[in-house]
């Protein structure tokens, strides 16, 4: 369903000077911070709980709940902002950082005030030069104007926000890898437990890690209340959410739509969004939530962009990245392209991921080059089964972080639905003996909206 709900976090994108303090203040900027500071911190945190704001970084964990995890009386607590956006298909955090850096800063300040976080680190992906410049500029402006630093707006609320650069590594997007990287180490994820950095994080102190888009929603919530936010969207997916739709559509773009209500078909086909598959072609498959997500097909188009529904249908909304493939897409190559990413980006800490992803890539490579063997498709599935036993969704994990099992998604999807394309490359019918659990291509539940 296409609704007329108004955007929350992309409202300034239309202005050329949207990144400046002047424009920000002229359009309600830092009003959320003022509103927050007029309440006791706990009340601000409660508003965010009421809002049911789900994390926008991939896992979809409720921010208000996460904020309740730091153990009482352990200080200091830190904020780490995850601006590492690098999952193929994902494009929204960079936009928010480049075009509305003050909104993100305001979100950081509200989080710090509410949860008692004594210092914030804004970790921006290394490859994003403009985002770094815009954030540095905005921080400098905001410090000078008294919004950050010592005695913010004349109160006893004081916090520094430090801009930190990444240096090129997808895996530091995983929150414990991010923390390792911020500590000056190789960005390898930490063994769990402890499960939550909110309990034991940066320098082994309680640390809230939140995604850029998650934090960008806080000024609205602080200004208008958690209820106003929770009025938007569906029961389990509140508010508005940004989705990047790329690939074979007429108008690829990043759209902020009502969460949980808008359907994949709306986004892909409606003239105000993507305007349909390019060249009037038929849809072959689409990735609903970033490269790690199992693929969806024609029969999933009417599912709403709602967390629980998409989870149940065998995939995830992940990082809000929808990649559309038309009927002419070479599925084997598309699959290889995604697997290659995970093989490159595996940090190497766990054997199933390090070895598995690189073997998957090599096998796919040789199939594409015409040297595929009839048993190769079985072998792909067998390697997948070693990385993630049972090839289920949600995946079982033999690894420290979910990157390993992520490489299984494109293979389970591509082989499950388009096995004949692999056979065509190999030049012989493939006897597949491994029984796929294959939720990725199961018929969906009827759409609820």
């Amino acid at each position: 369903m296409i609704t007329d709900a108004q955007p929350i976090i992309t409202t300034r994108f239309g202005y050329d000077d949207s990144h400046t303090l002047e424009r920000f203040l002229a359009t309600g900027g830092y009003e959320g911070l003022r509103a927050a500071l007029r309440k006791p911190p706990q009340q601000v945190a409660d508003e965010v709980k009421t809002a049911s704001l789900l994390g926008r970084g991939g896992a979809g964990f409720p921010a208000g709940v996460k904020w309740g995890f730091p153990p009482a009386n352990v200080w200091p607590r830190y904020l780490v902002v995850n601006g590492d956006e690098s999952e193929p298909g994902t494009y929204k955090d960079r936009m928010l950082m480049e075009r509305d850096p003050h909104q993100l800063i305001e979100g950081c300040l509200i989080a710090c005030y509410a949860v008692g976080l004594s210092q914030a680190f804004l970790y921006v992906r290394g490859e994003m030069a403009l985002a770094q410049e815009r954030i540095a500029g905005a921080l400098n402006e905001a410090y000078a104007a008294g919004y950050i630093g010592k005695n913010i707006l004349g109160t006893d609320f004081s916090v520094d926000i430090v801009l930190h650069w990444g240096a090129g590594a997808y895996i530091v997007g995983e929150e414990t890898g991010l923390i390792e990287s911020l500590e000056g180490n190789r960005g390898m994820p930490r063994l769990k437990p402890p499960y939550f950095p909110a309990v034991l994080g940066l320098y082994n102190k309680p640390t809230i890690v939140n995604n850029v888009e998650t934090l960008a929603n806080l000024p609205f919530i602080a200004r208008n209340g958690g209820d106003a936010f929770a009025k938007l969207g569906a029961e389990t997916s509140k508010g508005m959410r940004m989705f990047a739709v790329s690939g074979h559509v007429n108008k690829p773009g990043v759209y902020e739509v009502e969460f949980g209500v808008t359907t994949f078909r709306d986004l892909i086909e409606a003239p105000i969004y993507c305007g349909g598959v390019r060249g009037g072609k038929k849809l072959k498959a689409f990735i609903p939530g970033g490269a790690s997500a199992p693929w969806f097909y024609e029969e999933h188009l009417d599912l709403p962009l709602e967390k629980a529904t998409v989870d149940k249908a065998g995939s995830m909304l992940g990082s809000g990245a929808i990649v559309v493939m038309d009927e002419d897409t070479d599925i084997v190559r598309a699959c290889h392209r995604i697997v290659r990413f995970f093989a490159k980006e595996s940090c190497g800490k766990c054997t199933p991921c390090r070895e598995g992803t690189s073997w998957l890539e090599k096998i796919l490579q040789r199939i594409i080059e015409g040297y595929g063997r009839p048993e190769d498709v079985d072998l792909l599935l067998d390697v997948c089964d070693n990385i993630s036993p049972g090839i289920n969704w949600p995946p079982r994990q033999t690894t420290i972080c979910p990157l390993g099992p992520s490489a299984v998604s494109p293979i389970a999807s591509a082989v499950g639905r388009f096995r004949h394309e692999f056979e065509a490359y190999i030049g012989a019918p493939v006897e597949t003996t491994v029984q796929m659990n294959g939720l990725a291509y199961q018929a969906p539940e009827p759409a609820s909206a």
């Binding site: 956006e85 298909g89 490859e127 954030i135 430090v162 598309a334």
Partner: protein, 207 residues
């Protein structure tokens, strides 16, 4: 090349002062060294180690994990052509091929004049703007072959002053005035933040 110049050492000390634990400044200082020299030189890593109380091996241990740190000199302009899934579907491979032909070097290589290095790159978060690339991490969206050639011409002839040489990440730096700083929160500190209590921080109810 090269330890930090006096100016850069001062900048380095300013960066270090923002972190509660010295080692956290490793990546920012490696960027600063790369900005100075165009790549991350051995001497620079030693200097960083001295400033942070680490060994040079520890600095290298961290730096070698990250793709952006170049241990050998690269071209003045590093061109990253995205060939990840969304760009793959929309001409990313063809763009990379064209770039290789036009510059006469394969991905991973540098042109003989030392001006350009080409890399096939994974997703640079511009997926809806495919095909796309970065020059020294500055974006070029939906770029055609002709536009690519023009950008190269402009870079060759020095017309693109907005793109600094490889190594310089951001032309604007964060700077925190001492009298505005709330200070670092040392992990050894055990104080509850003063504002964390049951009364609002901002008392004025008007606005």
């Amino acid at each position: 090349m090269a330890r930090f110049t006096a100016d850069n050492e001062e900048l380095a000390r300013e960066i270090i002062s923002r972190y509660p634990v010295l080692k956290s400044a490793t990546i920012p200082l490696c960027h600063l060294a790369q900005e100075q020299d165009g790549h991350l030189a051995e001497d620079a890593m030693e200097h960083i180690a001295e400033l942070l109380g680490l060994t040079a091996a520890e600095v290298l241990g961290t730096a070698s994990f990250y793709e952006m740190f170049k241990r050998e000199p690269v071209g003045k302009y590093v061109i990253n052509v995205c060939t990840s899934i969304a760009c793959f579907l929309n001409g990313g491979d063809e763009l990379l091929e064209h770039a290789e032909e036009h510059l006469g070097t394969k991905a991973g290589g540098t042109t003989d004049d030392g001006l350009f290095t080409i890399e096939g790159y994974e997703c640079i978060a511009a997926c809806t703007e495919a095909p796309c690339l970065q020059v020294n991490y500055r974006y070029f969206h939906k770029i055609s072959n002709d536009e690519f050639d023009r950008v190269i011409d402009d870079l060759r002839s020095g017309r693109r002053t907005d793109i600094p040489p490889h190594g310089t990440l951001a032309l604007i730096r964060q700077h925190i005035e001492a009298d505005r700083s709330a200070g670092v929160a040392s992990p050894g500190g055990a104080e509850q933040p003063v504002w964390l209590r049951d009364t609002p921080a901002l008392q004025d109810q008007s606005g």
